[in-house]
């Protein structure tokens, strides 16, 4: 099971970084999105997969009958997902404004647009 996830994570990292190495800014933002998916899945998998029982206690029970999935990476990823959304949104707006102001989406050409 893990091996599939590992390959998926590898693909997300590779694809994300490839896009981040492009000159086009919008590709950079999409690459960042892929990379954060990869990072989230990495935390999730590296914490160890412990079956499909959610870490939610049944009504009336005070103890888990079966060991549920690890709650800690889930909490971490939950935070990470939200924050990566904030970053993507901010980056997108920043890019839009930059594009409107300097008139190019190529990071190399932006070097010459210092005003």
């Amino acid at each position: 099971m893990e091996v599939v996830l590992a390959i998926v994570i590898g693909a997300l990292y590779g694809g994300g970084l490839y896009l981040m190495m492009r000159r086009n800014l919008i590709q950079l933002i999409i690459g960042l999105g892929l990379l954060s998916h990869g990072a989230n899945l990495l935390i999730f998998t590296a914490g160890g997969l412990r079956g499909d029982v959610a870490p939610i206690l049944a009504e009336g029970a005070t103890k888990f009958a079966v060991t549920p999935a690890d709650p800690l990476p889930q909490a971490l990823i939950l935070t990470a997902i939200v924050i990566s959304f904030a970053v993507t949104a901010f980056a997108l707006v920043l890019f839009l404004r930059t594009y409107q102001t300097v008139g190019t989406d190529d990071v190399d050409e932006m070097k010459e647009t210092d005003t």
Binding site: R22, Q27, I56
Partner: protein, 764 residues
């Protein structure tokens, strides 16, 4: 001891303040600090003289076994007395030298801080404490040499001195750690009792070489001698103090201190005698051709330091006795000559060349008298203390004929330098246009005390030998020695050699113009010398730094990503290579079809995102990746994650789609070749990360912290959903941080959207 040392450091810090509040006689006020130390040392003289030593310590960092420990025995007493005693006179001298100069307070601060550090070096008992003070002396020396910081030569000399001595300090640190390891203690007073264990230890040679490099750089031994003559850029009080009587002797002190632990072996004798003799002769011969006052003195200082190392290297009880006498004699005459030289230059309006000076005896009678006393003592004329030192020395090396020859040659050079600096500026005809007058009182006291000292020590050499030299020599030799010094030992073979040296020296002095001419002719050779090698290496280092900064710091995001990613992949690869590849293939759990299907879909969507040439398609495939993520989360028992992911992914796609019609069409900015290289890099990252995840799975902590949360979530926080409890209860502060980030991002985005670049629009 710690209190007196702290007083010195406090005095250093207060110096500029004192000078600002009442600028008159600052030096005289501040000399209370070294005076206290000096008096205290003198009161301890009888006790230490009887072979006792005084140890004071208190713990510093208990966990690391660090202590602030001080130790006073014969050797430290001799050095500490010289440092504080001459320090007193130097402070007075500084007051006259910098009279009316607003920088006086700053200079006093540096020099007192230096004095305190130097006292620390000779008094500290813990090796690391010695090292700290050692480095402090390098640092304060840097400040003092570069004191005239408007002058590029002074800045370069300061940097050079610091680089050489601090580099040596690093070697020393390595040597000290090995030494402490070999001896099983950091306390010097204990280390020196374990000589036998240390010289038999397998790291002995490494320790010896590392400590020697440290000491040789500090004490300007060949091939590190070049920084000392360059350091003469420092103001004269600093040269007189640091570069003749104190700091440069730190290396000699350390070697002498460690002699009981490291000495008495063939390696010790070989290294120290060879380097010492080479430095001794090199310094003496190079001094012959100098004409600048301070450089003449600097080269003989190099030479004298070489002699000290040489005597220490031989390591018999007579040479060690000679070493202790010579240290004392050298400090007295060299400091006097430096102070007089500084006075002469000061009062003649900056004249530094011996050949341009002459006939000052009438204008500066007291300086003249002091200079003669010191110059003759340096040359080794009777009845001066230099003569006593020379006699002891020749006696000590009598069994080593080549050292006797070296002594005669070096001794002759000392006579020449003694005459050139002590007599030449004052006798003969005064050159046209040379005006001078006597130095002020504060600048006179030092030379008078030390100059008369050269004479007085000789007549008091019996008690001096018994009270100062004997305890010091005993500490170096680690056995009780009986020292008997005589001014007149009768007419014997040593006296003959001494007289031959004097005659040869006077002959050399008469031939001085020839030496100066030869030295000028040989000047082109300097580009093969150690100084030139230093310069070449320094330049090469700077060029390399500039080149690699330019290569690595391009200012282009892509390059940073490439460098970071390639390094990370290389490191991960190296780790896997060392572990022999990934081992856990057979431990992997079986693959369920639904995971395989959606995993495959994610990979496909990722490639689609990367390959897509259309904006909309790449946004949509990014969405597919996100929704597949959400599904995977449900498969592995993370419903909260799945929900969050679903909502956020929807929002992201909507956001991107909203912005979509404002966005330009994709076009390829980079060449096909670049894209291929990037694809290879990206593929390598993919493989590395995959392996990394698999390897990480094998590393599971025995008791994950999660178990605590699972157990206490309901008991303590009364929540059934453990993930929620962690977020809002156990780790609530993290969530607060997260919300803050969201708020800031939202504010930033709003501000950006509201921002109207009015000016640019108006221009268009």
């Amino acid at each position: 001891m710690p209190i007196l040392l702290s007083i010195c450091f406090i005095a250093a810090v207060l110096a500029p303040l004192v000078h600002r509040l009442c600028p008159k006689y600052t030096g005289a006020k501040l000399l209370a600090a070294p005076l206290a130390m000096f008096v205290w040392l003198l009161t301890k003289l009888p006790e230490v003289g009887h072979g006792h030593s005084i140890t004071q310590s208190f713990p510093w960092v208990r966990k690391l076994g660090l202590e602030v420990a001080f130790h006073l025995d014969g050797l430290s007493l001799l050095f500490a007395a010289l440092i504080s005693g001459i320090g007193i006179l130097i402070l007075l001298y500084t007051q006259g030298y910098f009279k009316g100069d607003p920088r006086q307070g700053r200079f006093l601060m540096f020099i007192i801080a230096f004095m305190a550090s130097m006292l620390g070096v000779v008094l500290a008992d813990h090796l690391l404490l010695v090292f700290i003070f050692w480095e402090l002396t390098s640092f304060t020396s840097y400040l003092l040499i570069g004191f005239n910081h408007e002058n590029p030569a002074a800045r370069n000399a300061a940097l050079q001195a610091m680089l050489v001595t601090v580099l040596g300090g690093l070697f020393l640190l390595g040597g000290m750690i090995l030494l402490a390891d070999a001896a099983g203690t950091w306390r010097l007073s204990e280390i020196i009792t374990r000589g036998h264990e240390i010289t038999q230890h397998k790291h002995y040679l490494a320790i010896l070489i590392l400590v020697c490099i440290g000491a040789f750089t500090k004490s300007a031994q060949f091939p590190f001698h070049f920084w000392l003559p360059n350091a003469m850029q420092a103001p004269t009080p600093a040269s007189a103090y640091l570069h003749s009587s104190t700091m440069v002797k730190a290396g000699v002190y350390l070697l002498a201190r460690l002699h009981p632990a490291l000495g008495h072996t063939e390696e010790w004798t070989l290294i120290l005698t060879t380097i010492g003799t080479v430095t001794f002769l090199l310094g003496a011969i190079m001094a012959l051709g100098q004409h600048v006052l301070k450089r003449l003195l600097a080269y003989t200082t190099v030479s004298a330091l070489g002699a000290m190392v040489m005597l220490l290297g031989v390591g018999t009880k007579y040479t060690i006795q000679a070493l202790s006498v010579f240290i004392l004699a050298h400090a007295f005459y060299k400091a006097t000559l430096f102070m007089v030289a500084g006075g002469v230059t000061h009062e003649t309006g900056g004249e530094t060349s011996v050949d341009q000076l002459g006939g000052l005896r009438k204008a500066m009678p007291i300086s003249f008298a002091c200079a003669v006393l010191a110059g003759l003592s340096m040359g080794g004329f009777p009845p001066f203390f230099g003569f006593v030192a020379k006699e002891t020395w020749i006696h000590a090396v009598w069994d080593f004929p080549y050292l006797v020859v070296a002594t005669v040659i070096g001794g002759a050079a000392y006579v020449l330098v003694g005459f050139s600096t002590g007599l030449k500026p004052f006798i003969g005809k005064k050159p046209e246009g040379l005006h001078a007058h006597e130095v002020p009182l504060s600048m006179r006291i030092g030379p008078i005390v030390l100059g008369l000292g050269c004479l007085a020590l000789a007549f008091a050499c019996g008690p001096i030998g018994h009270h100062f030299v004997q305890p010091a020599a005993s500490a170096v030799y680690a056995k009780d020695l009986e020292v008997h010094l005589h001014l007149w030992a009768g007419f014997n073979k040593y006296l003959v050699v001494s007289l031959v040296t004097l005659a040869l020296g006077i002959g050399c002095y008469l031939l001085r113009p020839f030496f100066v001419k030869t030295a000028a002719a040989l000047k082109p050779l300097a580009k093969f010398g150690p100084d030139a090698i230093y310069q070449f290496k320094l330049d090469a280092t700077l060029r390399f730094a500039a080149w690699h900064t330019k290569k690595l710091q391009t200012g282009i995001l892509r390059d940073y990503i490439r460098v970071t990613v390639v390094s990370a992949v290389a490191l991960i690869g190296a780790a896997f290579w060392r572990a022999g590849g990934y081992q856990g293939w057979e431990n992997l759990s079986p693959i369920s079809p639904r995971v395989a299907i959606f995993g495959g879909l994610m990979i496909f969507a990722t490639f689609a995102t990367v390959r897509s040439k259309s904006r909309l398609r790449s946004i949509l495939s990014l969405g597919v990746v996100g929704f597949c993520m959400a599904l995977l989360f449900t498969f592995f028992g993370a419903p909260d994650l799945a929900m969050t992911q679903l909502v956020i992914e929807t929002l992201t796609v909507i956001l991107l789609a909203l912005a979509f019609h404002h966005l330009p069409v994709f076009r390829h900015g980079s060449s096909k070749r670049t894209r291929t290289i990037d694809a290879v890099i990206a593929a390598a990252v993919g493989v590395a990360v995959t392996l990394l995840v698999l390897a990480a799975l094998d590393v599971q902590t025995p008791t994950p912290v999660s178990d605590y949360y699972l157990e206490h979530s309901y008991k303590e926080a009364h929540g059934r959903n453990v993930v929620n409890v962690i977020l809002v209860d156990f780790r609530a502060l993290d969530t607060l941080g997260e919300i803050t980030v969201l708020a800031i991002a939202a504010l930033g985005a709003y501000a950006l959207l509201k921002l109207r670049p009015k000016k640019e629009e108006a221009e268009k």
